[in-house]
């Protein structure tokens, strides 16, 4: 029984919407966020449409043969993208191979050998590499890497390895080799970070199982760890490949800007991204511009394909758990 002198509690409840589907404010909010999400998703479609539209003059004139023609002659309005496609494929694949070998090796070092006081700083340092702007890589490439290749590494390679196909002079400070080195450095952080997580996730029972049979550490890695981590590492590598394909400024500064198909690791060349960056601001005629946009469209399609494959692989390993886009 309540004593009479307790004041009754103030009635603070304001009428709020009924918490079900028909609350107008809820509907508006939900509509807004849904619209935002759809729009963002639709941008991709818009991109494909818009690029096709603006590149149409070139698409209708050259058709598919654009992809294997090597004739790039702006004044005569003859355009073929093969040199750029070849340059992109060569530099990206070489960077992929180098980056994967070094990157997986580094990831194995971090997980299997490094004590915590080494692992944490080194992981940090490798991830910081990812934060450096592309143009700064390019600057380093022009002023440090290029001269080094021209005066030191290049002549050395020519002396001892000229029997290898595609190794011939002259050695310049620009070219395929310079671009490959820079691209490798740029995709290392991606590959190391993802591989490190995947390798660390291999269960202890797997490692102990093979050790108990008398295996050495390398045999344990070779037989129990790497096969288990296979899909994840592959996904990391392909993500690195996607990044290498789209890399623009760093490559543009060291690739040498030649519209010929390269025949040596020291030849100047071009990639799809670099040719757009370098030539777009000085187009000589509308067909030139349309052709460059056509190149951009091809670049977009290739990137989409590679990204889709990478995500499918990584998803299969992590079973759909969210993967961060930021490294």
């Amino acid at each position: 029984m309540q004593p009479a002198d307790i004041p009754s509690a103030p009635n603070f409840k304001r009428p709020t919407g009924i918490f079900n589907r028909f609350d107008t404010r809820e509907l508006v909010f939900r509509a807004l966020v849904t619209l935002a999400a759809f729009t963002v998703a639709a941008i991709l479609m818009l991109m494909l449409f818009e690029l096709t539209r603006t590149a149409w003059p070139a698409i209708s004139k050259f058709g598919i043969s654009f992809l294997w023609s090597t004739d790039w002659n702006p004044p005569k309005e003859r355009f073929g993208a093969l040199p750029f496609i070849a340059g992109t494929i060569v530099t990206s694949l070489l960077a992929l191979v180098l980056g994967t070998v070094i990157g997986v090796g580094a990831a194995l070092f971090l997980v299997e050998f490094a004590p915590p006081w080494v692992r944490v700083p080194v992981s940090y340092v490798v991830e910081l590499l990812a934060a450096i702007p592309s143009v700064v890589y390019g600057l380093w490439g022009v002023f440090v890497l290029g001269p080094w290749i021209q005066h030191t590494a290049g002549p050395y390679i020519l002396d001892y390895f000229s029997w290898v196909p595609f190794v011939k002079g002259p050695v310049l400070s620009v070219g395929i080799l310079a671009a490959v080195v820079i691209l490798t450095i740029m995709i290392l952080p991606t590959i190391v970070a993802i591989s490190r997580d995947v390798i660390a996730a291999v269960p202890r029972s797997q490692r102990e199982g093979i050790l108990a049979l008398g295996a050495t550490r390398w045999e344990m890695i070779r037989i129990a760890v790497l096969p288990y981590a296979r899909s994840g590492v592959l996904g990391a590598a392909i993500l690195g490949l996607a990044r290498a394909i789209g890399e623009t400024l760093a490559v543009a500064l060291v690739i040498g800007n030649s519209t010929n198909v390269p025949d040596s690791i020291f030849s100047p060349a071009y990639t799809m991204a670099a040719v757009i960056a370098n030539q777009f601001r000085e187009v000589e005629n509308p067909m030139h511009e349309a052709s460059l946009i056509y190149v951009g469209l091809v670049l977009l399609l290739i990137t989409l394909l590679v990204n889709a494959i990478a995500r499918a692989l990584v998803w299969r390993v992590t079973r759909g758990q969210i993967t961060t886009v930021i490294e």
Partner: protein
């Protein structure tokens, strides 16, 4: 303890183990070398070229002496502001959708497309914005009052497109980290879902989202490719949204490919400033993230 032929095989396996271990250690330590090489380069070349004029003076005409990078630095700051203004609201809204409403098949499709957008090369985004925005600027003459095709506005849109998928996914992840219990406590008090999200869940995730935004900002601060044919760059000082605008990484690129020694010097100095800024943002954001996870 072991028979002779077995001993030989065992020794061979140990040798292989030692060689492989050496290779992996070399790879691990070698992966750090490029970072140090580049940082040392920036320090060695950049610091001597630093002087106050960088922030106080505008770009010198080609070949002339003196001058600074004021246009570029101010331009970069403006572009970042513009990008966040254009890109943050849709990005966070998309993140909210994905986390709170999009857990089904439709959400899966949208998430997939957002991830794919994240992988588009920045130069392709530049061409897209050139095609969709720059070429159509004439139509907006009534709004802009100028007939400039290349504008800071277009540059902001391009950078926002790069920012969008990154911030959207981070927002989603941070929102998902907020325990379901928090939401349910709000519902149990009679708070409608939209209000719970805005007043309780989002603030709870705000720290992590902020970190993600800082990291994404660090990334776009260093992007120049999408600006090549949208913001174009500007040799003169300008803060007009509807005019071309300069940006630090863009200016570095232009100066680095130019013939003038003095421009190269300024490119080094600019790189130093840019790298320090970007690293400070990245390291700061990561430290904040770790402190939060403790």
């Amino acid at each position: 303890m072991i028979a002779a032929p077995v001993r030989g095989r065992r020794r061979r396996r140990s040798v292989v183990d030692a060689i492989a271990s050496g290779a992996m250690i070399a790879a691990g330590l070698g992966a750090m070398i490029p970072l140090f090489a580049i940082l040392v380069f920036i320090l060695l070349k950049g610091i001597p070229a630093l002087n106050v004029a960088l922030i106080t003076k505008n770009l010198a005409p080609p070949g002339a002496h003196g001058g600074g990078l004021k246009n570029s630095i101010v331009g970069s700051l403006m572009l970042i502001g513009l990008t966040l203004l254009i890109g943050l609201p849709p990005a966070i809204a998309t993140g909210v959708y994905l986390a709170e409403y999009g857990r089904g098949k439709l959400g899966f499709a949208i998430r997939f497309l957002v991830d794919v957008l994240a992988g588009v090369p920045s130069i392709v985004i530049g061409i897209f914005v050139y095609s969709a925005v720059v070429l159509n600027m004439g139509r907006l003459h009534w709004l802009t009052g100028s007939d400039q095709k290349f504008t800071a506005f277009a540059g902001g849109i391009a950078l926002a497109l790069i920012l969008l998928p990154v911030v959207a996914r981070v927002t989603e992840e941070m929102l998902l980290l907020v325990p379901q219990l928090t939401r349910e406590s709000a519902y149990a008090l009679g708070v409608p879902k939209w209000r719970a999200i805005v007043t309780i869940v989002l603030p709870a995730a705000s720290g992590g989202i902020m970190t993600g935004v800082v990291l994404a900002t660090a990334r776009i601060a260093g992007e120049a490719a999408p600006l090549l044919f949208t913001a174009l760059g500007n040799n003169f000082y300008s803060t007009d949204i509807f005019r071309p605008i300069d940006a630090l990484p863009l200016r570095i690129f232009i100066y680095a490919t130019g013939p003038f020694q003095e421009q190269h010097e300024q490119a080094f100095a600019g790189s130093f400033v840019l790298v320090m800024l970007v690293l400070a943002m990245s390291v700061g954001a990561r430290l904040a993230l770790q402190r939060r996870q403790r």
